[in-house]
Symmetry: C2
Subunit: 752 residues, 2 copies
């Protein structure tokens, strides 16, 4: 098997993964759907979720269509005067699109990316909503079966999202490379950045809308049900409970699916752009298969998908085993097989000794193999870091639980301190990963004709791709979370037997951990990718400036380095750091406002329908779902538009060099704040669970459990953490990558 045959593996792996996902979906759907009561509530959840998703994606589709038209027109307009100056843009090389090339191609790629992202979100939600009741039903029989149903349901989503992203990038790349005029393989990656922008554009609204929905429903129904009326969570008497269960699906599943779809797409495209520089060296040096340096990210990800398929079969165990162990086993299988795949791909595609400045005399592939391993190791490190900070058995969560003894104020102070503290190990780990992968790539000595060593930056790209190899498995584990959360809700709601509820409770706790892990993973990949996308932005600017210089446009010059001493770069950095907070403020406030609508409605139902409390009247669940849907969709627009408008405004007012400052500071600030919000929220959540499990004791050794003042204080912390960890934090992941894709796509606008 030589390197060009490896390229064929990309569509094959994508299709195999989709077929496997269909097999898993059949398997899940063939399971029994439990008691009538279970089917009843599951049907209501499905109905609510579908109603929300339909309205949400209609809204998003409209916004995306407008976005595509605006992008097409604006880029065409901006390019047009250049076209007069820059003959190359009207070159027949641009084939059928000559005249209006980039604008249309970008808009088309944007729409394809948006459509794939929407498909990912919808599929993820749909399967999850089908798997929940089947997991609840399986829990009546066996822990292992329940784990398998939930994990397979999650894997359907994981495989489809990652395969769609792989096939989407591959398809549009191949389309532009092969069928449009005679665009070269080195130009094509720049033409498909619109795909990444479309994906992150949709992901932003999907994550915001879903995140606002899920947490508003959670906070709103808990505040009336648990706090005011003193009834348990997920109690059928609470009119908000179905909205809460719907929220798990539309927020956690659909949102995260869209988030990871755009991550993999944007990072993949960024890595391909960086590969272009190495491609140039390979062509000049006459190495075999030079285009493999550009294709590399696709091939690596294809191997990641295949590794994950194998790993799914390792999710098994005994009835007494900790379910987390079963999931971890699969994760380790994925990781180990990925290391093997990485060795195979790098040794086949990068097997040269051609670097002119090479250290140690090793073959080139060895450096990049280890750079990829750095990425995989970073992924593993984050899994354990997140567990330390958010799992109940370690110091941070215990500290918050202890602080709850003196009331909600000390609980909040302690949780904030823990959230802030988690930036330390996050930043240090990412810093080491960047440094190591850059250093490894640098040693390969890939020096281009201008005497610049481009291997270092490519090393960070390979590390990011290594990390992305496990995305399908991570996403499967993540979707496991809302499925088991829902299964627990359905069991509670349908008053299932005690044994089933014990199993779903255990699964729910594991699901909380896996949800937290995915956020750590998403943050780590966003940070690792930040430097890569930043470099890709500079490459794109220099591609445009190179053409302008050739055409003799006055004032055009290459961006050799972004100058921090330029006041506009500083101001852009300041505004970017602000954007991260302001955006989070809007997202958090949106949850508050939406929750307020829910509180009013649930209170009204309790007041006007007195039969609810003694089960003689059925609450109007659909009305709460409807109110939540409308409010969440209304509230997602403002933060979404701010996130899109601000980088454009900065670029237009302060220029393309300032945009680089915005990208750097925005990414760093966004990653740090998301870390604080995700981990702080996770730690608060688990401090509450720690107390509920009876592990907190007073000075005399009495257990301070449910109903104690410490527990009430911990509930406050948990509620505060909800919009932090499930709305603002995950939306920040998307924002950070949106900043990169928007800058890449609109770069021509910012050059004056």
């Amino acid at each position: 098997m030589d390197a060009s045959a490896l390229q064929l593996l990309v569509p094959i792996a994508g299709i195999v993964a989709i077929l496997f996902a269909l097999y898993l979906a059949r398997d899940v759907l063939s399971r029994d759907t439990g008691t009538e009561a279970m089917q009843d509530v599951a049907g209501t959840i499905l109905e609510g979720a579908v109603a929300f998703i339909r309205r949400q994606y209609t809204t998003i589709a409209v916004i995306a269509l407008i976005g595509a038209v605006v992008i097409g027109v604006v880029i065409t307009l901006v390019e047009t005067p250049e076209v007069a100056d820059v003959p190359e843009l009207t070159n027949p090389a641009w084939g059928a699109f000559a005249g209006l090339p980039i604008g249309l191609m970008t808009a088309f790629a944007f729409l394809v990316g948006a459509a794939c992202s929407m498909a990912s979100g919808i599929i993820g939600m749909y399967i999850s909503v089908k798997a929940n009741v089947r997991t609840a039903s399986a829990a009546r029989r066996s822990l292992v079966e329940a784990v398998q149903v939930a994990m397979r349901g999650g894997a359907v989503s994981g495989f489809l999202v990652v395969a769609l992203s792989l096939l989407g990038v591959w398809g549009i790349f191949t389309l532009y490379d092969t069928f449009v005029g005679n665009v070269t393989v080195a130009e094509a990656p720049f033409l498909i950045v619109g795909f990444g922008f479309g994906a992150s554009f949709v992901a932003l609204f999907a994550q915001l809308g879903g995140g606002i929905y899920t947490k508003a429903a959670d906070v709103g129904s808990d505040l009336v049900g648990k706090v005011e009326k003193g009834i348990p969570e997920d109690d059928p008497r609470n009119a908000g409970v179905v909205a809460d269960l719907v929220g798990d699906n539309v927020g956690d599943c659909a949102g995260r699916g869209a988030d990871l779809f755009e991550s993999t797409a944007a990072e993949n495209i960024g890595a391909m752009i960086l590969g272009v520089a190495v491609y140039g060296i390979a062509v000049a040096a006459g190495w075999p298969n030079p285009e493999a340096w550009i294709f590399f990210p696709l091939i690596v990800r294809a191997f990641g998908l295949l590794a994950t398929i194998v790993a799914i079969f390792f999710v098994r165990g005994s009835e007494t085993e900790d379910p987390m162990n079963m999931l971890n086993r699969g994760y380790w299988v994925t990781t180990i097989l990925s290391v093997g795949g990485l060795a195979l791909v790098t040794s086949l595609t990068m097997n040269t000794n051609g670097g002119t400045g090479e250290a140690f005399g090793l073959p080139t592939w060895v450096y990049f193999f280890f750079a990829g391993v750095v990425g995989l190791a970073t992924s593993v490190a984050f899994v354990y870091i997140t567990q330390f900070y958010t799992a109940g058995s370690f110091r941070p969560v215990r500290e918050i639980a202890e602080a709850s003894k003196t009331g909600p104020a000390t609980n909040i102070i302690s949780g904030t301190a823990v959230g802030f503290e988690t930036t330390l190990v996050t930043a240090v780990t990412i810093g080491i990963a960047l440094f190591a992968s850059f250093w490894l790539g640098d040693q390969a000595g890939l020096v281009n004709q201008e005497g610049v060593n481009v291997g270092g930056i490519f090393g960070t790209a390979v590390a990011t791709m290594g990390m992305l190899m496990t995305t399908a498995y991570i996403l499967a584990m993540d979707t496991f979370g809302p499925i088991t959360d829902n299964a627990g809700g359905i069991a509670e709601f349908s008053r299932a037997e005690q044994g089933a509820r014990e199993i779903t409770d255990r699964l729910d706790a594991v699901g909380n951990t896996t949800k937290a892990l995915t956020k750590g993973y998403a943050i780590a990949s966003a940070s690792l990718a930040a430097f890569l996308l930043f470099s890709a932005y500079i490459d794109k600017i220099n591609l445009i400036q190179g053409r302008r210089i050739e055409a003799g446009v006055p004032g055009a010059e290459l961006l050799d380095s972004v100058n921090l001493a330029n006041v506009n770069v500083f101001i852009a950095g300041l505004l970017a750091a602000m954007l991260v907070y302001f955006f989070s403020s809007l997202a958090i406030r949106a949850v508050g406002k939406t929750a307020q609508s829910i509180i009013v409605e649930v209170r009204r139902q309790f007041r006007e329908m007195p039969g609810i409390m003694d089960y003689t009247q059925r609450p109007d669940y659909a009305r709460v779902v409807d109110i939540t849907t409308k409010a969440a969709l209304r509230e997602m627009v403002a933060p979404g538009l701010v996130a899109v408008a601000m980088p454009i405004a900065i670029g237009l007012l302060l220029g393309f060099e300032a945009v680089a400052g915005m990208l750097m500071v925005g990414t760093i600030s966004g990653v740090m704040l998301a870390t604080v919000l995700n981990n702080g929220g996770g730690a608060w959540d688990n401090a509450k669970k720690y107390i509920e499990s009876g592990q907190l004791k007073d000075d005399q050794g009495n257990v301070l459990g449910k109903g104690s003042e410490a527990h009430a204080a911990a509930v406050v912390g948990d509620t505060v953490g909800d919009p932090f960890k499930d709305t603002a934090g995950p939306s920040l992941h998307v924002l950070v990558k949106l900043l990169a894709t928007i800058s890449l796509v609109l770069a021509p606008l910012f050059i004056r």
Copy 2:
């Protein structure tokens, strides 16, 4: 009066300000000290404050001495191999210090800066502790008299701090310029950066120690007294109450005094370094008084001091007037006189048409006069921005109060959203100020021999200096806060008559506002100065590199631009953004730990001394003061050392270019997080006050005041905000400037 005569004004204004401060101090000390009960508690406060300050400053002095020795030795060691290579450093120009010049001179400047900063902190605290009881006593007679006593007490501190900073920088500059060898006026500013480092080093520990003390005492005594025992704030039965009153002085007075001392010193020195570039142009062009471009910051500040002296006499009014109006009147007088002073100074020192690239054909001074006005306007803008976000009559505080109706969780969520939101107007205002002052300076066309226009950066320096003109007045208003806070506590504690307590309550509310204003001012000046200090760092690097290039050191090159695409710059930025959170985490946690010690002790006293509750037993106040002192001093060390060690580690591991990235991202992140913490905390505080003043109503129009559930929720928010706004936030101001001074001083260490 020509420009060289203006230079004489610097020591004269400094001495006049000190004499005026002594006059005010005499005036304050001559006032009566009230009833015996008042004198009794004031004496206890004085005792506790002196005990803390003595121990704290002994600790700080030891750390500073060690720091000075380390700096001296390290810089000497680092310079030594260079000395062999770079003959200029052994040049007789370095006079008596030839051979070991910079190390010793820097260490000496560090010690002088540290000593002046310590003196500022001690004086501020001492006068405040004397003025409090006199304000309480005056409140028995007249509102206006009470305002005047408190404001004059504050002004003593304001004048002494600013005059000491002015005389300190002037003195050490004159010393090095005049008496050491024959250092030129263009070299001297680089030699005195140690003064700024010494000042910020002491300020960091002073602010941390004081901030931890004050909030731990506040939180600790409130949690036991108000929450557990249900007795009022400042009730004499609470053993923690004296520690709380002591805390106002050692945290708010001594801490802020040291903070603003180092701000003015560091920014002044940074502006002088930037003046060196213009000095070079002036010398080459043969303009008169070229050294005035270097002296400029000192002269401007001297005028600011004189303006403030006049303004103090305008703090007067009628008994029925809002005290805030009286203070605002003085502030406006300061600002207007400062504009006049700015016009005078710029027209006398910069009266040339020499810029080669000048726009509009105006005299040079006009551009810089307006740049200075931008600085003054920024100061005014921040005063009103802070009022909007933290005063009870506006939307943000009302929003938090409304959210308190649904409990502590929604109060915290809403306050967080408000805190995050305040970054918007902060960043935009600073961005506009930087852009405008840079643009103005740029138009002056000060182009140096290399063809670089240095006027833009100098414009931002002039804006910063314009802003600093009002520092003495701002600091007087700030110290007004803890004095009136203490006066209220003394009135409550000594059970003074109702009329006096009403007046001290009104003053206390005003004091809360002025304290918030100062934080806004400190943040704005830190941000404006950030770019200036960043540029000064690059100038310093290039000074060193220029010498190394001349000496033929291999690999030495000028730092023309800091390259964001350098992976080390990115990593350093990431670590800097993390440092800001991690440092805050340590500071917040330190408050929690210290408060815990206080809670245990106050509870013990209530338990073991049952007579306390019915006033038959006197609590052991001194013991709580003692415990708080020890705990606060222990807890201040870790965050302080982290703040000092991290930039050094980044510089040593990643190099001098990365340090520039750290400076930029660290400053931006620090300013934004401090904004969130300060304003969020202030808004929570005032949301509680809003409810206490009976302005919150339920749906039926009933007042939800003290004792309501909404009030309890607002108390939680206030408690959470305490360590945010009074420990972590203000400490971040200092950290941001410490990053700049440490980089300036240790730059030789980071060059390899």
